[in-house]
């Protein structure tokens, strides 16, 4: 049961990062590659009908985490109090950027929300990467399983480190570049003409950033949490995750070079999935490592809820996710193909 629910939560978080990742990525490049109002509306209409559903994966993943591993949810959400509140504010402002911009046809109104949307997306991508970094590095857990981390302390990696130190900043940059590539690939799929050209160019440049920061992150992980490799020694099949990630990385580059945008998008999605899968595989059974005394680490075993709740959960979760997948397939099929920018006053 522990392995199963750990995998389910990891799966949901991965789907969230892949799906919301492309609309956050679209937000990152929004101000820079879309120059005219029509181009900006093309980006917003490409993500408009789906961003909300994408974000539901975050809510559903948090809910699933809550019921399967209550102590992990309570400990991490209260410990990461400050960054989570900032993430909430960013999610609020960014979403209103998408939803409020088209309500009023005034250039100042639109500029304001374009900037809010883009700035919110950039900061969110960094926070998502840094969040992963914190989980890898570990946090100063107390005996009762709780902790509190300030936003930063000295920026060095140490037991009492804050949310941001040099390692988590590197991870934040991985998040920024990876989602830039992912979002650019998505916009290249959904648009044509100059916008598509600029999206492809952005994806090409950001790909190098993604590569270099990922390599830096890999060496850093090796330095501060070498234990992450032990699962790979005992269960070598786990190498499938990093290999998938690397092939996604390569695929994203090769297909983008040939102008095969959909395959390049699949490549960046595979990279995200592979890397998150590799991290989860390496951390197991830890779900929130202790940065000081390893005995205090939160694991799937000391945070899981009762057996009965998990078994009924498995039934409804399976039904619910199959239904949700159905809606998503229907939704994405309904809005498939290149985005058509509707008349002013309709759409986004």
């Amino acid at each position: 049961m522990e392995i199963l629910w750990f995998s389910i939560v990891a799966f949901m978080i991965t789907i969230y990062v892949i799906l919301d990742g492309f609309d956050i990525g679209a937000g990152i490049i929004h101000l820079f590659i879309a120059k005219t109002d029509t181009e900006r509306r093309a980006i917003l209409n490409a993500i408009g009908p789906v961003w909300d559903g994408n974000e539901v994966w975050l809510v559903a993943a948090a809910g699933t985490l809550y019921f399967a591993f209550p102590l992990l949810y309570a400990s991490s959400f209260s410990g990461f109090y400050l960054p989570l509140m900032i993430v909430l504010w960013l999610l609020i402002m960014r979403a209103l950027g998408i939803e409020f911009r088209h309500q009023l046809h005034h250039p100042l109104w639109k500029s304001f929300w374009d900037t809010v949307f883009s700035a919110g997306s950039i900061l969110l991508s960094v926070f998502l990467g840094a969040a992963l970094g914190n989980v890898i590095r570990g946090v100063p857990l107390q005996e009762d399983g709780y902790f509190f981390a300030p936003l930063w302390t000295s920026f060095t990696v140490q037991p009492e480190a804050g949310i941001l130190d040099w390692f988590t900043v590197i991870m934040g940059l991985v998040g920024l570049f990876a989602l830039t590539v992912h979002g650019s690939n998505f916009i290249a799929v959904k648009t044509g003409g100059n916008l598509q050209k600029r999206a492809r160019a952005t994806a090409r440049v950001a790909w190098w950033g993604m590569l270099l920061t990922s390599i830096a992150a890999l060496f850093s992980v090796n330095a501060i949490r070498p234990q992450i490799w032990s699962n790979y020694t005992t269960h070598p099949w786990g190498w499938i995750f990093p290999l998938l990630g690397i092939s996604g990385l390569a695929g994203s580059f090769l297909f983008a070079a040939k102008g095969r945008d959909t395959l390049a998008f699949a490549g960046s999605a595979l990279f995200i999935a592979g890397m998150l899968g590799a991290t989860a595989f390496g951390l197991y059974p830890n779900v929130l490592p202790s940065s000081a005394d390893p005995v205090r680490s939160l694991t799937v075993y000391n945070t899981i809820t009762g057996e009965y709740g998990l078994s009924v959960g498995l039934i409804w979760w399976t039904i619910g996710i199959l239904m949700a997948s159905g809606y998503f397939i229907f939704l994405f099929r309904s809005f498939r193909g290149k985005v058509v920018v509707p008349a002013e006053g309709e759409g986004y």
Partner: protein
């Protein structure tokens, strides 16, 4: 009360109250929009379709506000109430996770289709998308009420080894007897809000002598749906909620009613201010023996007052609880009176020219929001000092690691952001109403 506890309570209370402004309108409005859309198809009437689309635009702005202010609610269980989450996550994590899985995926997927997909889906498909949005939002409310009902009346659990609760019956949790009346009461309240908002817009059009056809439709729909839902919030749903409180939370009932001393033939208080220093009501106006009759159907039944309970089990803010309850009940009574008058004039075919009543309808729309909020405050303040009734005290549910200073920082942050987006929201909705249904989305309009 220590500083951190107060901050955490204000944090959740403020963000919840602000959040609930939006879903209470969208849930009720979803029902009315689906009705308009059904009439449009049945009667092949473009006018109804335009009305459905007009209200869908107002719905969409509200929905976006509901989504963005709703995500913080789920997060705050963990961020501000960590010990409560550790304690209760094994049970209420179920309903919260189900809300995401069954309700949010449904409504978010179909909302995009409903707002932007009319041409792609055709009329039947468009109706179906609207129906799914309605279903998703009402399902979402069910899971939230089920969560709250468990906190009011915990069932289907067992105490695990670490002192945390574990679920023992899935259907026991989802069919908690507390849910039925709390859910129907909440949903009827939501329809009251939507009806009064619709009637207010209609009355405004009629009084301003513009969009007259739409004005008549919205006023008529608002008054009729408002009458049905206003009656439902009082009877049977409100009445049955009180009976649940009588049975399971007797100290809460005494505090709500301002009954300090146990009495046979207890009176129903209409007006009076609880004086917690002297433990009495000042200048009370009451109906003799009415409380005994309403709670036990006997004029001389004994109703236990606050003196029958140890002081540490009294709700910790009795005056606020008492006022919330009385404001809710008082406003609810007025809703019935106003919509009854409107329905009578409608039947006499005089409503659309009855300017005094149209003025009342136009100005009455804030009151259902106040009544719904007061209702939630009654439920939540009434549960105090318990977070989970008789199982976990509120003071024992907070995040110990989050200091009062950090809590105040983010509370002020939410106050600022919500003030900003609240102002922008009002501006946008007023603008949509002012543009009216006749040019909603048909031609480009420049500000």
């Amino acid at each position: 009360m220590d500083d951190a506890l107060l901050i955490h309570r204000l944090h959740f209370g403020f963000t919840a109250a602000f959040h609930y402004i939006f879903p209470q309108l969208t849930m009720g409005l979803a029902l009315l929009i689906v009705i308009f859309k059904a009439l449009a198809i049945k009667r092949r009437d473009e006018f109804f379709n335009r009305s459905a689309k007009f209200w869908a635009k107002i719905f969409a702005v509200n929905f976006a506000m509901g989504v963005v202010t709703g995500i913080p609610m789920e997060f705050q269980f963990g961020t501000n109430w960590a010990r409560f989450s550790t304690f209760a996550g094994g049970v209420i994590g179920q309903t919260l996770a189900m809300e995401g899985t069954f309700a949010f995926f449904l409504e978010s997927s179909f909302l995009g289709l409903f707002i932007f997909g009319e041409k792609k889906l055709g009329q039947a498909g468009h109706f179906f998308a609207g129906l799914m949005v309605f279903l998703g939002s009402w399902l979402s409310a069910y899971f939230i009420v089920a969560t709250n009902a468990w906190m009011q009346h915990p069932v289907a659990y067992t105490m695990g080894a670490g002192g945390n609760v574990h679920l023992t019956s899935f259907w026991g949790l989802l069919l908690n007897p507390w849910i039925l009346w709390q859910y129907t009461h909440t949903m009827a309240g939501s329809v009251v809000t939507a009806s009064f908002v619709m009637a207010a817009v209609g009355a405004y059009y009629l009084l301003a002598k513009r969009n007259t056809e739409a004005g008549m439709l919205y006023t008529r729909t608002g008054v009729l749906a408002g009458l049905v839902s206003s009656v439902l919030i009082a009877f049977p749903t409100g009445d049955m909620n009180v009976k649940n409180v009588v049975q399971h939370q007797p100290a809460t009932l005494a505090a709500m009613e301002g009954l300090f001393k146990t009495e046979e033939g207890a009176p129903l208080v209409i007006i009076g201010q609880p004086d917690m220093e002297r433990l009495r009501l000042d200048n009370p106006i009451h109906i003799p023996k009415m409380l005994s009759f309403l709670t036990y159907n006997r004029w001389n039944a004994e109703v236990r007052g606050l003196d029958a309970f140890p002081r540490e089990d009294w709700p910790d803010n009795i005056p606020l609880l008492y006022y919330s309850y009385h404001i809710m009940v008082g406003l609810g009574t007025m809703f019935i009176a106003v919509t009854l008058a409107g329905t009578f004039l409608l039947w006499r075919k005089k409503l659309f020219g009855a300017r005094p009543l149209l003025w009342v309808l136009m100005l009455a729309f804030p009151f259902p929001f106040i009544a719904n909020t007061a209702g939630w405050m009654t439920a939540e303040l009434g549960r105090q000092p318990w977070l989970v009734y008789n199982l976990l005290r509120t003071a024992d549910g907070t995040s110990t690691m989050v200091s009062a200073g950090n809590g105040l920082f983010t509370l002020l942050g939410f106050l600022g952001i919500y003030f900003l987006i609240g102002v922008l929201f009002l501006f946008l909705v007023i603008r949509l109403i002012n543009r009216g249904p006749d040019d909603a989305g048909t031609s480009p309009v420049h500000a």
